[in-house]
């Protein structure tokens, strides 16, 4: 390299440095389980948010200011969620947060964001309590577990005609909330569950529980929880020779579900409720193509996270970076996102719920049940 080239490089670096100094960054936190047993979901959240931030920055940022993302890891533990929420609002000066993933983390963290006047848009926390708390700054771009439970219960009663339903949950805010919501609707249809029990998150041996499911002769096993327990559960269910239909919610929407279950044969026929295919919206075509070109399949909550970022950015951009005004503004405006137009009600829930039933096949992929 000649001296002239080095000098040129140094000058251009200096100019670039000055340019970044001239504008303050807008800090947005991405909070979720970036490590731990549920890290696969954290990755979906991060990939979606990162891509959204890159695209928005490339298009000029928020009113000319660049977005700077801060990764905040809650490991799906409520205590850790509170401490990273405090960190995001205190030392990182985040104006908005995309996250968290687990409802048990989102609910305690949401109060901290409310006190600090920070917009929180969760791509994935479906527990009704989150928005029922009445906090003005909390939004979600996914559905609610009571809606999800309704869809599952109607499917069990109308399509499967099942009379003997075993309801299992993982004793966590999300899992138990979902199982309870499903159970309530099921009971309202006049079907009483034959069994209602919790298992312990982190364990791998559910044989005793499964023998019990066998003994009550269940046709359908409904599980409220995440894939790390759903995998061993469905595998051991099949190993014990039960042919009961296994249904779960959006907590298992990850390819990891297949590897945790051991092989695709065990997940064959497993049903799950999840929002209408996030990849089906025409407005998302370009982003999805770019994801696939980079070798990443935007599965599960990736596009939800992209959407959450767009919502948070729209609120800040249209209100001079004032998160409190932005939160107020969101409740009366539609946002164009990669998942179509999104409207929020007063609580911060979406006005339209779009849960549908999916089925896993023998190749380890999931498709909408027609």
């Amino acid at each position: 390299m000649s001296n002239a080239v080095i000098r040129k490089t140094l000058i251009s670096l200096a100019v670039a440095g000055a340019a970044t100094l001239a504008q303050a960054d807008v800090v947005i936190g991405v909070a979720g389980p970036h490590t731990g047993a549920y890290a696969a979901f954290g990755e979906q959240l991060w990939k979606g948010a990162e891509k959204a931030a890159m695209d928005i920055n490339a298009a000029g940022g928020i009113n000319g200011e660049m977005i700077k993302l801060v990764k905040a890891d809650d490991a799906c533990e409520p205590k850790q969620a509170v401490s990273i929420a405090n960190r995001l609002v205190d030392s990182d000066d985040a104006l908005a947060v995309v996250g968290h993933f687990c409802s048990s983390s989102s609910i305690p963290a949401s109060k901290i964001y409310e006190e600090a006047g920070v917009i929180m848009v969760t791509p994935a926390s479906t527990n009704p309590t989150l928005t029922d708390q009445g906090l003005p700054n909390v939004f979600r771009v996914c559905g609610r577990d009571d809606q999800q439970g309704d869809v599952a219960a109607s499917y069990i009663v109308d399509k499967l005609n099942a009379k003997r339903v075993a309801v299992i949950h993982d004793k966590d805010t999300y899992g138990k909330g979902l199982a309870d919501a499903m159970k309530a609707t099921l009971n309202s249809y006049g079907v009483k569950e034959v069994m209602y029990e919790g298992l312990t998150r982190g364990e791998k041996d559910f044989n005793a529980l499964i023998t019990k499911i066998r003994s009550v002769d269940a046709d359908v096993v409904y599980f409220g929880g995440l894939h790390s327990e759903a995998g061993p559960l469905v595998r051991q269910l099949r190993e014990q020779g039960s042919k009961a239909i296994f249904i779960s919610g959006d907590g298992i929407v990850s390819d990891e579900f297949v590897s945790v279950a051991g092989s695709p044969e065990y997940v064959d026929g497993v049903l799950m409720t999840f929002g209408a295919p996030p990849t089906s919206y025409p407005s998302g075509k370009k982003v999805i193509q770019e994801f696939r070109d980079s070798g990443y399949e935007p599965e599960g909550y990736t596009l939800y996270s992209y959407t959450a970022m767009q919502v948070a950015v729209a609120a800040l951009a249209n209100n001079n970076l004032d998160p409190i005004k932005g939160a107020e503004w969101l409740k009366s405006h539609s946002i164009d996102t990669v998942m179509g137009k999104k409207d929020f009600d007063d609580k911060g829930d979406l006005t339209v719920s779009d849960y549908v039933m999916y089925e896993w096949d023998g190749q380890g992929k999931y498709n909408v049940v027609e």
Binding site: T35, G36, T200, A208, P232, R235, G241
Partner: protein, 303 residues
């Protein structure tokens, strides 16, 4: 009836795994009077080595189950044994003459180091291994049936074999005699010419080997694991060791079986929500009646 029998089968296999891991806790406690909190994480490491071993063997085109399982057991036991030796060498031996608390803290530190090291080097995601052995034996009982999968039979067989060999080694061989001598009085044993440091190292390796056996078996059976998997099972195995009388080898096996059976029967017949509450209440009850566990010897204060 078939349900009760099935729960007994479930409990026996779970219990034998607890027993295998409990051996590591109980032998280390017996010989140097410390609780090796990193033991559950040694088990976790062995789960990862199992997956790596299977991947290596299948990479070389080996498909038959017996060769894979023997190869995996051999590799995992060897590597995990080495982990056991290294952990003792760097985390516990330098503290040999310090207070018991120092070693305990060192053990907790070791546990965190192992967890974070595996998380960083292998990723935080859930891992899975493919099913290698499928199928089950079924007996019809009344209207229903009781079944035991071949994998579960294999678990029972290997853990009984492992425990049997270990009991023989401790009771009948020269190495076992040295272990027992060191356990009874370390200073006296070293005066009599036993290299006690070497014996202690050996005990750590034996503990790690037993954890590795459990790691291979459980990983092949359940197929799923992550860097945190050693925590719950480690706590359960520790409970089993205390239940049976910590420091006693048959006690660890008995404790494991009792814990496994009580969990399975309680979860299966009453409620799985409270099975851990039941197991730990049982532990409290036994410790009230027999403070040193079922087969433990009361500690004699040395004057």
């Amino acid at each position: 009836m078939d349900i009760v029998l099935q729960q007994l089968v479930n409990g026996l296999t779970l219990g034998s795994v607890y027993g295998l891991i409990a051996i590591g806790y109980t032998m280390v406690y017996g010989i140097i009077g410390m609780i090796n909190f990193a033991h559950g994480d040694v088990y976790m490491v062995s789960a990862y080595i199992t997956a790596i071993a299977i991947a290596i063997l299948t990479f070389f085109g080996i498909e038959s189950f017996p060769i894979i399982i023997v190869g995996t057991l051999f590799l995992t036991v060897a590597v995990t044994g080495a982990y056991g030796w290294v952990i003792e060498r760097i985390a516990y031996r330098p503290l040999r003459s310090s207070s018991r608390l120092a070693v305990l803290i060192s053990a907790i530190g070791m546990s965190l180091i192992l967890q974070n090291y595996v998380q960083l080097s292998q990723g935080a995601n859930q891992q899975g291994v493919p099913t290698l052995l499928t199928g089950a034996i079924r007996f019809s009982v009344g209207d229903g049936f009781v079944q035991i999968t071949y994998m579960k039979l294999f678990i029972l067989f290997v853990s009984l074999l492992g425990m049997g060999i270990l009991t023989y080694v401790i009771q009948k061989t020269k190495l076992g005699r040295m272990c027992r001598a060191t356990q009874q009085d370390r200073k006296m044993a070293s005066i009599l010419g036993i290299d006690t440091d070497k014996v202690i190292s050996t005990v750590f390796v034996i503990g790690a080997v037993m954890a590795a056996l459990a790691g291979v078996l459980v990983t092949l059976d359940y197929g799923a694991f992550d860097f945190y998997v050693g925590f719950i099972i480690g706590i359960k195995a520790f409970t089993a060791a205390v239940l049976g009388g910590i420091g006693s080898l048959p006690g660890a096996m008995l404790g494991g079986l009792i814990l496994g059976l009580s969990e399975a029967l309680f979860a299966g017949l009453i409620s799985s929500d409270y099975k851990d509450v039941f197991s730990f209440s049982l532990l409290v009850l036994i410790l009230i009646i027999r403070p040193s566990g079922l087969l433990g010897k009361p500690e004699v204060e040395k004057v």
